[in-house]
């Protein structure tokens, strides 16, 4: 009960929990699309590619306002993705090669800029290094409001184009044969994923963001075979991981929030892999034993050939 009380009345915990929950919901839904389109690593690349954008945004404006830094992150992430999509289309390099290249080059530039900022007159990196591993405790009410607005826009677009995004993810060639602008939808869906990643930078950081993108969808897929169930379920799993991680980290012994969110999510993923009724490993093992008992064992005991 005290947890519930604190969630409502403790300013820090409320903001951290709400911010983490919003991040989990948005990255869960959009990450599901990335996963189904076999672009699980796109989130990782996007997050790393966003780092130099944060640094440049600060260098140009001198502002530490969340919206300024996240705008820089979004632009850099977007440039990285367009570079990725363009080179994959126009050259013989495969997508995983380019994911690796974009990730490391942009991240390298980002770390370089961070180090340069350290030697600037107003010093102390302006606290930008918190974007590496995230610092959810620094979330304020204004940040949460910003996340809520960005998330609402992203989810609204997903709701409107549910049919289009489904066909794009399942069979882009068929979508193209209908005359749909497949590349345009591709850019739109990726841009929404960038929003999710950018929200996550402040909370779980560049390094751990990939798990927030892939985890909720992977867990949700275990429980259902229908996309219109999987997407909201991924949002619920992501949001739950956010709240649980936030509560544990703030209430217990000052553990870092980002890693606690990821560990909570990992617990959900592992439980789903093991226990989900149709696809889980444990139910499957039980079913297999049942089959064995009914089909194989009687024939063995009768001495029939297998």
């Amino acid at each position: 009960m005290t947890v519930l009380h604190d969630l409502i009345f403790d300013y820090t915990l409320r903001n951290v929990a709400l911010g983490s929950m919003l991040l989990g919901i948005i990255s869960g839904v959009l990450g599901s699309y990335a996963m189904l389109r076999r672009q699980g690593l796109l989130g990782d690349t996007l997050a790393h590619a966003a780092l130099p954008g944060i640094c440049v945004a600060f260098m140009l404006t001198g502002s530490r306002a969340t919206i300024v830094l996240l705008l820089g992150a979004g632009i850099a992430g977007w440039l990285g993705t367009m570079l990725l999509l363009h080179t994959v289309r126009e050259t013989k390099l495969s997508e995983d090669t380019m994911l690796g290249v974009v990730l490391s080059v942009f991240f390298g530039v980002g770390v370089l800029l961070l180090t340069m900022l350290q030697h600037w007159e107003n010093a102390n990196q302006a606290g930008l290094d918190r974007y590496l591993f995230g610092q959810a405790a620094a979330l304020v009410a204004a940040d949460v409001r910003l996340f809520a607005i960005l998330g609402a826009v992203a989810l609204l677009v997903v709701a409107l184009f549910a049919k289009e995004f489904k066909l794009l993810a399942f069979d882009p060639a068929f979508a193209g044969s209908l005359g749909w602008p497949v590349r345009g939808f591709d850019v739109l869906l990726t841009s929404l994923l960038i929003i999710a990643v950018v929200i996550g930078l402040q909370t779980v950081g560049v390094v751990l963001m990939a798990a927030m993108v892939i985890g909720p969808g992977a867990a949700a897929r275990q429980w259902t075979d229908r996309l219109h169930v999987m997407l909201p379920l991924a949002g619920v799993f992501g949001g739950a991981a956010g709240v649980i991680g936030a509560v544990i980290s703030v209430q217990a012994a000052r553990l870092p929030t980002g890693p606690m969110i990821i560990l909570s999510l990992t617990a959900i993923v592992v439980a789903s892999l093991l226990l989900a009724p149709r696809h889980g490993l444990v139910p499957e093992a039980i079913r297999r034993r049942g089959h064995h008992a009914r089909l194989v064992a009687p024939s063995l005991s009768r001495g029939d050939p297998a």
């Binding site: 399942f170 060639a173 044969s177 005359g179 259902t224």
Partner: protein
């Protein structure tokens, strides 16, 4: 073996189909060239496929068969040339085309069921943002029934056999309610019974006046299935009524170096 290979413009079939020359072209291609970087995949193709035919596109691997279909659908950039569909531009005729991509081109683990995939065939008419409703689902169920999968509507698509998955794709094209059906290897990896069911369906469509264009691989079954033939190997080697086009000379020109294999399989005696 030779019996099935004999050209088979059987009498009832020839009577049911009016003379192709008098009919409008469902597909009219002029000077079509498609290249991936510097390598031409299709070179200067001129082609007419009359409406109301069941057409096979035949050629060796890498001949550009799938690319030709994709060029007709505007899915690959065209370096030169034009393609007219049902007497108009592609943009104006899209709603009248049904498309069956290769079965292996999608991930069948995708979280959806058979009915939902078939419903995608109604998306083109629905327009953006609008969601499929009762009418669209009814249309999809009807299409599933036409391919004999009425009982599999709620089946998760990964739980379907290869032949059933192929029929789901066919049903999706049927739900498009098209006049021209473009199919990429509709018989690939299906069992004999499914193949029979599919060809019956395609011939029914043709007899209703629709045009069906298939990439096909099996030279042995082709004469029995199709009434129009396009032989393709980067260039259009020959195109015309099946019986007069399916000749040893044309096949030799199409398959080139692979002909020894062909002669063994086909035997020049069976071919005029």
């Amino acid at each position: 073996m030779t019996a099935t290979l004999a050209p088979t413009p059987t009498a009832p079939l020839a009577a049911a189909v009016s003379r192709p020359d008098e009919r409008a072209a469902a597909v009219a291609v002029r000077g079509l060239t498609v290249a991936y970087r510097d390598t031409p995949v299709l070179w200067n193709i001129d082609l007419d496929i009359p409406a109301g035919t069941l057409t096979a596109i035949i050629g060796p691997n890498g001949a550009g068969k799938s690319t030709l279909l994709k060029a007709l659908l505007g899915l690959v950039p065209v370096a030169a040339g034009t393609a007219e569909i049902l007497g108009g531009s592609l943009a104006a005729r899209r709603r009248r085309i049904g498309y069956v991509p290769q079965r292996g081109s999608v991930d069948w683990q995708f979280p959806t069921n058979a009915l939902d995939v078939v419903t995608m065939g109604t998306y083109g008419r629905l327009g953006w943002i609008r969601r499929p409703g009762r009418a669209e689902r009814a249309r999809a169920r009807q299409s599933l029934e036409q391919v004999g999968l009425a009982d599999f509507a709620d089946r998760q698509i990964s739980q379907l056999s290869g032949g059933q998955q192929q029929r789901v794709f066919l049903a999706r094209a049927l739900a498009q309610d098209a006049d021209l059906y473009i199919m990429d290897e509709p018989f690939a990896g299906v069992d004999a019974q499914t193949e029979r069911a599919i060809i019956d369906l395609l011939q029914t469509l043709r007899n209703q006046g629709k045009t069906v264009v298939c990439v096909h691989h099996d030279l042995e079954t082709a004469p029995a299935y199709f009434d129009w033939l396009v032989l393709l190997n980067v260039r259009a080697i020959a195109a015309g009524p099946f019986a007069s086009t399916f000749t040893a000379d044309h096949l030799r020109a199409t398959y080139g170096g692979a002909l020894t294999l062909l002669r063994h399989r086909v035997g020049s005696g069976a071919l005029s």
